[in-house]
């Protein structure tokens, strides 16, 4: 079974540009999450999808970040316009529905974003 995949693995953009990160969850997982780790600090929650609906977006830093999950499959996270403080590693995770072990989230390898 394929794990969570993320694309690209690295992205270097200039301040003011736009970047779109993609996440493909484990097949059959209804729950999809985005997290971010900045400067080697703790991993911080950004938002949670259940299928195509945003369940919790309390961690989104501001309206420059837009997440979508078309058809309840893959998800994209767009940053527009990017600022220097957006640099970090963006992780995507997925988990089964509540009848499974929903608390146990499976993470992708992350996208390292560098804004210069």
């Amino acid at each position: 079974e394929a794990g969570v995949t993320q694309f690209p693995s690295h992205s270097v953009i200039e301040k003011g540009q736009t970047v779109t990160l993609r996440c493909d969850p484990i097949s059959g997982h209804d729950n999809l999450y985005w997290y971010r780790r900045v400067m080697g600090k703790e991993i911080k929650f950004l938002l949670h999808f259940v299928k195509e609906s945003k369940q919790d977006e309390s961690g989104m830093p501001n309206n420059r970040f837009l997440a979508e999950r078309t058809g309840g499959t893959y998800s994209t996270l767009k940053v527009q316009p990017a600022e220097l403080e957006d640099s970090g590693v963006y992780f995507c995770a997925s988990s089964q529905d509540w009848t499974g072990s929903s608390y146990e989230q499976y993470f992708g390898p992350g996208t390292r974003l560098t804004v210069t």
Partner: protein, 112 residues
């Protein structure tokens, strides 16, 4: 203010000995706790978890202990192996929410 704290940024142990990683939390509404292991350039990998209704969960060489009154949990690895060298994150899930709140991690080095 960090709700999940890992106060030891690093830990070094000899192969074969016990590794004990600690985690403290402040929110009494947390009802599920997890440990993740992370290698460089990889995403966190789920290791072991514990529900707030339990005080111990064991899986092979890994055991997690939960002390609710002290708002403290620990991960014991015994015996430690060089392949266990990684960054270990403690995470907690608030009641009725699936989001995970992570500590800042502890880097474990197991010396051969």
């Amino acid at each position: 203010d960090q709700q999940v704290k890992q106060n030891s940024p690093s830990l070094s142990v000899q192969e074969g000995r016990i590794s004990i990683l600690n985690c403290d939390y402040t929110n009494s509404m947390f009802d599920y706790f997890l440990w993740y292991k992370k290698y460089p350039a990889e995403g966190p990998t789920f290791l072991i978890s514990i529900s707030s209704i339990k005080d111990k969960n064991e899986d092979g060489r890994f055991t997690v202990f939960l002390n609710k009154s002290a708002k403290h949990l620990s991960l014991h690895i015994v015996p430690s192996q060089p392949g266990d060298s990684a960054v270990y994150f403690c995470a907690a899930s608030p009641d009725s929410s699936y989001k995970l709140i992570f500590g800042s991690g502890t880097r474990l080095l197991v010396r051969p």
